[in-house]
């Protein structure tokens, strides 16, 4: 996947880190110190649909389908997360119990065009 830099409007991963102290949550969230709420942004012109696919051949197949069906403009390709990982949290609940849990699919690692 591509990380957003400068002014590119191509589908990319925009990094955004939330420090729990900034939002006053450091008293109930023991670990970690913040949350990387990265997100996908940017455009997906049709000729890059399916990038980055799991296998390079996936994009080629999609590209050939588009050419074969002259689907210029039909449907669309969206900039979506393609790789995500869990967020491990250690926090206090309202009974002052200590709770540890792994929340699946919380941190976007890479983006691509559907």
């Amino acid at each position: 996947g591509i990380d957003c830099q400068g002014g590119s409007r191509m589908c990319c991963r925009q990094e955004f880190f939330v420090d729990f102290r900034e939002i006053g949550w450091q008293d109930w969230i023991i670990q970690p110190e913040g949350y990387a709420m990265n997100f996908c942004t940017g455009q997906c012109p049709l000729h890059v649909a399916g990038i980055p696919g799991i296998a390079a051949s996936f994009h080629t197949a999609v590209f050939n389908l588009l050419k074969a069906n002259t689907a210029a403009g039909a449907g669309g390709s969206c900039c979506v997360p393609t790789v995500q990982r869990p967020l491990s949290l250690l926090y206090y609940d309202r009974n002052s119990n200590i709770v540890k849990t792994d929340i699946p699919d919380m941190v976007v690692e890479a983006c691509g065009c559907s």
């Binding site: 957003c4 400068g6 002014g7 590119s8 409007r9 191509m10 925009q14 955004f16 939330v18 900034e22 939002i23 949550w25 008293d27 109930w28 023991i30 949350y35 709420m37 942004t41 455009q43 012109p45 967020l87 949290l89 250690l90 926090y91 206090y92 609940d93 309202r94 009974n95 002052s96 119990n97 200590i98 709770v99 540890k100 849990t101 792994d102 929340i103 699946p104 919380m106």
Partner: protein, 218 residues
């Protein structure tokens, strides 16, 4: 074929202006975390936990079970540490209460394992036996009745662990567990350390929210 006058879609242009959207993104981050933890709002701590107690408890927390299912097959689970609140006590017994928030158990709770951890300080070369009684709410009224009891022999000072059975797990899943420590023999009741923050007794439970009647695929 680019239509005349249309801009090249991937050429330079205004990217997302993070600063002007910062407040919106911070609120989104809060909502995202609260939703995934099944919380409507951030918890306000009823009793702050001393750092020493937190450190000790985390050191004692057992690691993941050896047969842990591969990541993709496991639904979200919770490891909960609940510190004891001393209830009714007398010279020969101490009652301990443990509260389990209904946040993690909104949709019912399946206790996968639970253990009671306590610290004992014994005089040298002495042994000590203690009865640990597990209480449960009786089905007919709100009285607590003894659901099970365990006689433990303790021969050395330090941390000790008692694996809690189905009766205690059932009480945890209902949100409230009561244990009673009844020492046997001469050694003083105060052998179980209660007041020292670094040695507060606690229950460690591994919990999976959702329906208890989980269908296992063979």
């Amino acid at each position: 074929t680019l239509r005349p006058g249309s801009q090249c879609p991937v050429c330079g242009g205004p990217a997302v202006d993070l600063e002007s959207h910062r407040e919106l993104l911070l609120d989104l981050a809060k909502r995202n975390i609260l939703d995934k933890l099944h919380l409507s709002q951030r918890p306000t701590l009823s009793r702050p936990v001393p750092r020493a107690a937190l450190r000790t408890a985390l050191q004692r927390l057992c690691g993941p079970p050896q047969w842990a299912l591969p990541e993709e097959y496991r639904s979200q689970e919770y490891d909960i540490i609940s510190f004891a609140e001393t209830g009714f006590s007398s010279i020969n017994q101490t009652r301990l209460n443990f509260h389990f928030s209904s946040d993690e158990t909104a949709g019912g709770m399946e206790i996968r394992q639970a253990s009671f951890m306590f610290f004992v300080q014994l005089p040298p070369n002495s042994t000590w036996s203690i009865n640990v009684r597990v209480f449960a709410l009786s089905p007919h009224d709100t009285n607590l009745t003894i659901a099970s009891q365990h006689l433990l022999e303790v021969g050395v000072s330090g941390w000790h662990q008692l694996t809690l059975g189905p009766e205690a797990q059932a009480a945890c899943s209902q949100g409230h567990l009561t244990l009673e420590l009844v020492p046997e023999g001469q050694v003083a009741q105060s052998s179980v350390i209660m007041s020292d923050t670094a040695h507060r007794p606690f229950v460690a439970a591994r919990v999976r929210p959702g329906s208890k009647h989980r269908v296992r695929r063979r």
